[in-house]
């Protein structure tokens, strides 16, 4: 049993407790939302904060009168309990609990598993965190929508940032977790690298297993080969261990690190992560986002989340917020189209098409292939006053259109059409301000 547990009952009880009678006459009492997230296993480093965020957001929504007058009620399912337990429980939520909307999931594997089920069960599903670009590229979807970017723009942004800030590197090595995300992200990154800078030599491709406790041999090999750039899309405990061991053995001294998911580990790593490491956050959101950090709602959100959990929000928290923002926007849009009356489910789903909404970064749009357009924020780690961990500085924000495959196009084929001019893709640049 690879760590399995479910916090769902507690969470459900909690959600029930905070749920209040509906205000509007024509609105139903509740909008029931099923959310799959990791509360056990390694990926709970994302899932548990996101769950806390969902509870917090639901409280806020309900305190403010709900969505179109209906209180939201949450049901959590643990993704860590395994594929069968997950589908069984999701099925139960849809068929017995009759949830209005599902939000699934963190793991790309679970998304791939659940999207066809959602199509068949004809229930609105918001892919709130999973990154695989394959989902809407391989199959069309009516009921599934993704409210954040996918792996392609995430990797393109990381590559562009690297090429813009360190154009002269000659060798690169990769240390990714040995599972779909680690493989897919490297496939996208390396395919684009070959088009944009074909002379770069790939000196090592290492795929230690997911959850590997030790990277000594990998680090020795990297120390021996001394690549100019080391890419790792790892996350969670794996990334922590890798950074710790690499830092201790001086691997950071001679190589530039590109860690597109490090934003989620940076608070745990603290001073162990040196300055100057290229860091990403899987999207256009960061608690010190240069364009939104002074917004009142952003400040309130960060403060409240810190109060609740003791930590600054990480990307999975923002992804959860985006999913709720999209849902709220869809209900509002559908109600408007419905002459102000509470919309039915089909109307909400119709409203998702071409939906515009805003999380805690730049505004987002849902494309015709149900994929959201989300900008990407990249930067480098920097130690500054006031935080006991490095923050992200020298930020660049890339708009989504330029760095992702157009609707209906396969990402790898699209990358095949790129040329050196892609490096000139525009970005807004920002310095951290005290």
């Amino acid at each position: 049993m690879k760590g399995k547990l479910v916090l769902s009952s507690l969470a459900a009880a909690f959600a029930l407790a905070v749920a209040q009678p509906a205000m509007a006459q024509d609105a139903p009492e509740n909008i029931k939302i099923g959310i799959t997230t990791f509360t056990s296993g390694a990926a709970s480093v994302f899932g548990v904060p996101a769950q806390a965020a969902a509870q917090m957001i639901a409280e806020d929504i309900n305190a403010a009168g709900g969505i179109q007058g209906a209180q939201v009620q949450l049901f959590f399912v643990d993704e860590g309990a395994g594929a069968e337990a997950l589908t069984t429980e999701v099925r139960r939520l849809v068929q017995d609990e009759d949830v209005d909307v599902m939000m699934a999931s963190i793991s790309s594997g679970n998304c791939i598993n659940l999207t066809p089920l959602m199509e068949d069960l004809e229930v609105l599903n918001i892919l709130w965190d999973c990154g695989t670009q394959r989902i809407f590229e391989e199959e069309e979807s009516t009921y599934n929508f993704r409210t954040q970017a996918n792996a392609t723009p995430e990797m393109m942004a990381a590559l562009l940032y690297l090429l813009k800030t360190k154009p002269d590197f000659e060798t690169i090595a990769v240390v990714n977790q040995d599972y779909a995300w680690g493989r897919d992200s490297w496939e996208l990154f390396s395919a684009a690298l070959k088009k944009l800078k074909p002379e770069v030599e790939i000196v090592a491709e290492l795929f230690p297993r997911l959850g590997a406790p030790d990277f000594s041999a990998e680090i020795s090999r990297l120390l021996a080969t001394q690549p100019d750039v080391i890419l790792s899309t790892s996350w969670g405990g794996d990334l922590d261990t890798f950074v710790q061991q690499a830092n201790q053995r001086g691997l950071f001294n001679n190589s530039t690190f590109v860690l597109p998911l490090a934003e989620s580990s940076i608070q745990r790593l603290g001073g162990v992560l040196p300055d100057g490491v290229i860091v990403g956050a899987r999207g256009d959101h960061y608690f010190l986002h240069p364009e939104t950090k002074d917004d009142e709602d952003m400040k309130a959100f960060v403060d409240k989340f810190r109060e609740k959990t003791g930590a600054y929000p990480i990307y999975s928290v923002f992804h959860m917020a985006q999913a709720f923002a999209a849902l709220q926007a869809a209900y509002d849009k559908a109600a408007e189209a419905n002459g102000g009356d509470f919309p039915d489910r089909a109307q909400v789903i119709a409203a998702m098409e071409g939906l515009e909404f805003k999380g805690y970064g730049r505004p987002l749009t849902i494309r015709e292939d149900n994929q959201a357009l989300e900008a990407q924020l990249m930067g480098v780690s920097r130690t500054v006053e006031g935080y006991d961990f490095p923050i992200i500085d020298d930020m660049m924000i890339f708009d989504a259109e330029g760095i992702m495959a157009p609707p209906g196009e396969n990402s790898l084929e699209w990358i095949g059409t790129l040329d050196a001019s892609f490096i000139e893709t525009e970005a807004s640049e920002y310095k951290h301000e005290e």
């Binding site: 390694a42 548990v48 297993r209 406790p213 041999a217």
Partner: protein, 301 residues
């Protein structure tokens, strides 16, 4: 392949093998004496790591010297061994010594499931990291490559100390020779008045202590997180089975073999890194069904 790379791979292999040995030797010892394959062994590894990491973080919070971490590891391991191991032996295993191997195995499987859950309840799901002892020992330079002294020197030395300590204990002390007697012929040992129960208790506590010592010593090098025990169990099985169950010296060689196989794979065939321990185990067992150093026993008819 250059000589330098071989040296590097060997160093990594030794460091990794040392850690694996520290964990697997406890399982091997317990199996040799009690004929119980303890699935919960990996959980004790995890418990040791959690105990050491949280104690270490607490000590750092109190501003104590990081050098104190080293004795603390031993204390943490012993505490886990005596409390958790002792309780499990006393209240659970003692009831099942007459059972069939399969049922004994499943009892430990049940304990494994419960301990996995308990870890999450106590420590939550966020990774812990306590690397002060690793930094304290600094780095060493080999062939131009930086290694941590902790992994390259300290862990192998501890492994050697445990290996020779166990050998000495089993050969030259009374308690040790009693354990050996029970391992070799339980009936004869009981017949000459050895109290097998006490031997079992002692052995199990030692085995659990070794597992949690392995966990404690691993904690400065790795993230301590849920599920870390499940992988270690399979690795320990692989070592114990490759060595021949109950073979202490064999476990050292098998752990080394698996460590070297893994690090060589990283350098020369990274795709095989994950399968390496199992491939070694399958190959060894196919050629020598009783393990590298195991002995076959014929039924008396």
């Amino acid at each position: 392949m250059s000589l330098q790379i071989l040296v590097l791979a060997a160093l990594d292999g030794i460091a990794y093998g040392a850690l694996v040995f520290l964990v697997a030797v406890g399982m091997t010892l317990v199996f040799g004496v009690m004929r119980i394959l303890n699935v919960a062994h990996g959980s004790f590894y995890a418990l040791g790591a959690y105990a050491a990491a949280s104690l270490g973080i607490a000590m750092a919070g109190m501003g104590l010297s990081p050098w104190l971490a080293f004795p603390m590891f031993i204390v943490a391991a012993a505490v886990v061994g005596i409390t958790v191991g002792g309780l499990m032996e006393r209240f659970l295993l003692q009831r099942i010594y007459g059972y069939e191997e399969t049922l004994q195995l499943l009892v430990t499987f049940a304990v494994f499931m419960m301990l996995e859950n308990v870890q999450r309840l106590v420590w939550g799901v966020q990774p812990y990291f306590y690397s002060d002892p690793l930094r304290q020992l600094g780095n060493v330079n080999v062939a131009g490559i930086t290694y941590t002294a902790y992994q390259t020197l300290f862990l192998p030395l501890v492994a050697l100390a445990v290996l020779f300590g166990l050998r000495f204990f089993l050969r030259y002390t009374l308690a040790g020779s009693v354990i050996v007697a029970v391992t070799e012929d339980r009936e004869a040992a009981t017949a000459i008045g050895i109290n097998a129960r006490r031997v079992f208790f002692l052995t199990f506590v030692i085995g659990v202590t070794l597992a949690s010592l392995g966990g404690a010593l691993a904690s400065p090098t790795t993230s301590v997180l849920p599920g870390m025990g499940a992988e270690m169990i399979v690795l320990s099985f692989a070592v114990a089975a490759t060595a021949g169950l109950g073979q202490i010296e064999g476990a050292a060689i098998a752990a080394l073999l698996i460590g070297l196989g893994r690090s060589m794979a990283v350098f020369f065939a990274p795709e095989f890194e994950v399968v390496m321990p199992y491939l070694i185990m399958v190959l060894v067992l196919l050629i020598r069904p009783e393990g590298l150093f195991g002995k076959t026993t014929a039924r008396k008819i």
